[in-house]
């Protein structure tokens, strides 16, 4: 019976190591046999005693019979208990985002034991546990949000053309580099007059022979300075510096 039923037996093999259960431990070609527990009389006490007595207390085997948390024994266990005691866990406030260091990534080659700061989800291999197929929407999301970010960043450079009456060659000015009419006017004066005005810009104050106007979204010619700056920036298409108020309409 033993020959052909060798697969089902399992009476040989690790019996002295605590062969738990007759025929329970051996995989058959089918699925796992049910573990018959009649012979599984060895309880934990016996297990521990058995291990310690048959344990070859060898100088070479530093398995640490005297394993004590925080005491002597193997270094790995010691560090493990040091890092992962409850108080050290709470003090690291793992729920907030933790700065990820390269050392913590390398540390995971061995174990969490070596890293001082607890792992952040973003730095750990294989965490969170998502199968490859389900990482696709994450990538898709990333690409979407990156595109959005890119296009919004592109809008942060807003340059408009500036033409001055009597000057053939126009200029361009970045409106986003300014946050008020005053600075814009100064820049324009610098560009076209090549000099700085002391005090308020003459373009804005109306004391100059020129006046600063802009063409808005509807194509109308408007005086610069009437609306709040942000509203102006969102509706301006181009700037024109025209001769005095008595000048003709912009085309």
């Amino acid at each position: 019976m033993d020959g052909t039923l060798g697969l089902l037996g399992g009476i040989h093999g690790g019996a002295d190591g605590g062969g738990g259960g007759d025929g329970g431990g051996v995989p058959s070609c089918g699925s796992i046999l049910t573990n018959s527990k009649e012979d599984d009389t060895m309880n934990d006490q016996d297990m521990l005693a058995e291990v310690s007595s048959s344990y070859p207390v060898d100088d070479d085997l530093e398995l640490g019979l005297g394993l004590r948390i925080g005491g002597g024994g193997s270094n790995a266990i010691q560090e493990g208990s040091r890092i992962l005691r409850p108080n050290s866990c709470s003090s690291s406030s793992s729920s907030s985002s933790v700065n990820i260091t390269n050392s913590s990534i390398a540390g995971f080659k061995k174990s969490a034991i070596d890293s001082v700061s607890p792992p952040n989800a973003a730095s750990v291999v294989g965490w969170p546990p998502i199968r490859r197929a389900h990482r696709m929407p994450i990538l898709a999301n990333r690409i979407k949000s990156e595109r959005k970010e890119y296009s919004s960043r592109a809008k942060s450079y807003l340059s408009v053309k500036v033409n001055m009456d009597g000057t053939l060659i126009g200029r361009k000015v970045d409106l986003n580099a300014h946050n008020s009419y005053e600075t814009l006017a100064r820049t324009l004066e610098n560009m076209f007059y090549g000099r700085q005005t002391i005090g308020r810009s003459r373009l804005l104050s109306g004391t100059s022979e020129f006046v600063l106007t802009y063409e808005d979204k509807d194509g109308d010619c408007m005086l610069v300075g009437d609306v709040p700056w942000q509203m102006f920036v969102s509706s301006v298409k181009r700037l024109r510096i025209l001769r005095s108020p008595k000048s003709r309409n912009c085309i």
Binding site: L63, V125, P129, I138
Partner: protein, 581 residues
């Protein structure tokens, strides 16, 4: 007087016994029953392909029609198992091609399959019907072409989430015009476009086609064409689900869906355009299975769909569903059995998505048949877990992933021990459990005490000491698979429970504190176990006994140590243990 039934009668009686567990029991009764049973067993399941060798299987069971094999450990799904680890299907397929000319079904999971093997399958088995490759790799569309061309009676070709080398989409054209037997086709994992006209013709000439899962490359405009050819479909996986705003596409799509009177399951939905969502409105009331886990649509759109599906039994969705969407599930889907909520972006701290523990609590309250949960979220509390446990004592599978490792109860800042303890205490039929969050040894004490039916346990970043592991190994009587990562479990618990390891299928431990010396000792003590040590960094030969091993995989086997390992894996050879210092 010995009374015994004639063999034919016994065989007939045994034919009604289908569960492997029962078949194994039958074969233990006596020698003649063993003999009769082995000759009439038709279906084999091998949960670990290294637990037994192909020749042992074919020697004992000569008349098998269906074989299912699993290769790599589960954690391979999360990149924890290095390249080249193993799980090669080739020796199995070679042996089966020699011994089982009448084999009809092969199902492989997490195995490495080559084109040569696929070709061998296609030519060796005259009546081959079913090929399922789940999370497999190593083959290309050329291998698929061989299957398509040569398997005359193919009924099911299911590639699940395999990694296929996509050389061309023309493999599908290799199905001969005479092939009309197809019942199930799943090509969702393929990247490149298959020839649409070949697909259309194939679908058109397969009147028994019930399951069709397309890949992303099949455009939405063409979906209605396929549906019109296969109105008998029961499960459909769409391709990309957007097409610009085109009313003609929408109307033909909804018309096509209207024609599918048997449709019960939907999946796919890559790149969803919400305006096309309700094209399948007519199907909603019949739907029992809905997989929106690739659909990055926002909460109000998802909620709209879900509230139309009162018969839903299985729902897979992204965390865009938010608590509000899950409240709708709790109200509308009273027949729900399985819920999976995946994270849309787990790598950023603030996801701008209001999915909290509340969503799961609502579903546990509102859905009395809920049995299986997979839930990714950013915060959890003991009180929520206790509520869930009390609401749903019929849970069979509970997998919770709080995204931040070691995250405590966000209300009390305590560990989640008590919460998970309540789960195992109330859910007496719990078979599968995955833990996360801040956990001490206490949770393992609860698990060891209460989780008697638990078969699979996944642990990460948990516990304080060996006591935790000891509670699990000594208490969980039904434990078959245990996988652990980044926990301070060392030698003590393992060595105190050596016998337990032989009653389990496998144990995986990575980034823990088990020493090389303990592995050697285990291997020496337990000859029926393969103790495999994985170390991608250093040389395994120069290991000191006190060094912690990087990764450890222990499994029971009758096949002895395997010979197909890459250099960085070593089975501790018990014969050499005493000679190595």
């Amino acid at each position: 007087m010995v009374y015994s039934l004639p063999e034919e009668v016994l065989e007939h009686v045994f034919s009604f016994i289908t569960l492997d567990k029962d078949r194994n029991a039958v074969s233990l009764v006596c020698k003649s029953w063993y003999e009769i049973e082995r000759w009439c067993r038709r279906r084999i399941f091998v949960g670990n392909c290294y637990a037994v060798s192909p020749s042992i299987m074919t020697r004992r069971f000569p008349e098998v029609r269906s074989v299912e094999l699993k290769g790599k450990p589960h954690f391979a799904d999360f990149n924890l198992v290095p390249e080249g680890w193993g799980g090669f299907a080739c020796p199995w397929i070679s042996e089966m091609s020699r011994a089982y000319p009448w084999l009809e079904e092969i199902r492989l999971k997490r195995m490495v399959v080559t084109d040569e093997s696929l070709e061998l399958i296609s030519t060796s088995f005259k009546n081959f019907k079913v090929l399922v490759l789940s999370s497999c790799e190593g083959f290309s569309t050329d291998g698929l072409a061989a299957i398509a061309a040569n398997c005359r009676n193919l009924r099911k070709l299911d590639l699940r989430e395999s990694e296929v080398m996509d050389l061309s989409g023309h493999w599908l054209s290799h199905f001969p015009n005479t092939c009309t037997s197809l019942e199930s086709l799943n090509i969702a994992c393929l990247g490149s476009e298959v020839s649409f006209s070949a697909l259309e013709r194939l679908v058109g000439r397969s009147p028994n086609l019930k399951i069709l899962r397309l890949n992303r490359a099949v455009p939405l405009e063409k979906l209605s064409t396929l549906l019109c050819r296969a109105p008998q479909l029961v499960e459909l996986g769409t391709g990309a689900y957007s097409s610009g705003i085109r009313s003609d596409v929408y109307s033909s799509l909804s018309k096509a869906f209207l024609g599918c009177k048997e449709l019960k399951g939907l999946s796919g939905f890559w790149d969803v355009d919400p305006s096309y969502l309700l094209a399948f409105y007519s199907v909603c009331s019949r739907l029992t299975s809905l997989n929106l886990s690739y659909a990055t649509i926002r909460s109000p759109d998802i909620t709209k769909v879900i509230s139309q599906c009162p018969n839903l039994q299985r729902l897979w969705v992204l965390d865009h569903v938010e608590d509000s969407g899950l409240n709708a599930v709790a109200l509308s889907c009273k027949d729900l059995r399985e819920l999976r909520v995946f994270p849309s972006d787990p790598y950023i701290a603030d996801a701008n998505v209001t999915l909290t523990e509340q969503g799961l609590v609502s579903v546990s309250e509102g859905c009395p048949k809920l049995q299986s949960v997979l839930y990714f979220c950013r915060q959890m509390s003991n009180s929520a877990l206790i509520t869930i446990a009390r609401n749903r004592p019929n849970l069979i599978c509970f997998r919770l992933c709080v995204i931040e490792p070691r995250a405590p109860d966000y209300l009390t800042l305590e560990p989640l021990d008590v919460g998970f303890g309540a789960i195992v205490e109330h859910c007496k039929e719990l078979r599968r459990l995955s833990l996360s969050g801040l956990l001490t040894d206490r949770v393992f004490e609860y698990i060891g005490r209460h989780a008697k039916r638990l078969e699979m346990l996944s642990i990460a970043f948990a516990g304080n000491s060996d006591l935790g592991l000891h509670h699990v190994l000594s208490g969980c009587d039904g434990l078959r698979k245990l996988e652990i990562r980044d926990c301070p479990f060392g030698d003590k618990a393992l060595l105190a429970n050596v016998a337990k390891l032989e009653t389990m299928r496998s144990l995986w431990m990575s980034s823990c504190a088990v020493s090389y010396g303990a592995c050697k000792f285990l291997s020496q003590k337990m000859p029926m176990l393969n103790v495999e040590v994985i170390d991608e960094n250093g040389s395994l030969d120069s290991r000191f006994d006190s060094c912690p091993v990087e990764k450890l995989y222990i499994y029971r086997t009758v096949a002895g140590p395997r010979s197909d390992m890459p250099g960085y894996i070593r089975t501790i050879d018990r014969d050499r243990v005493n000679t190595i210092s």
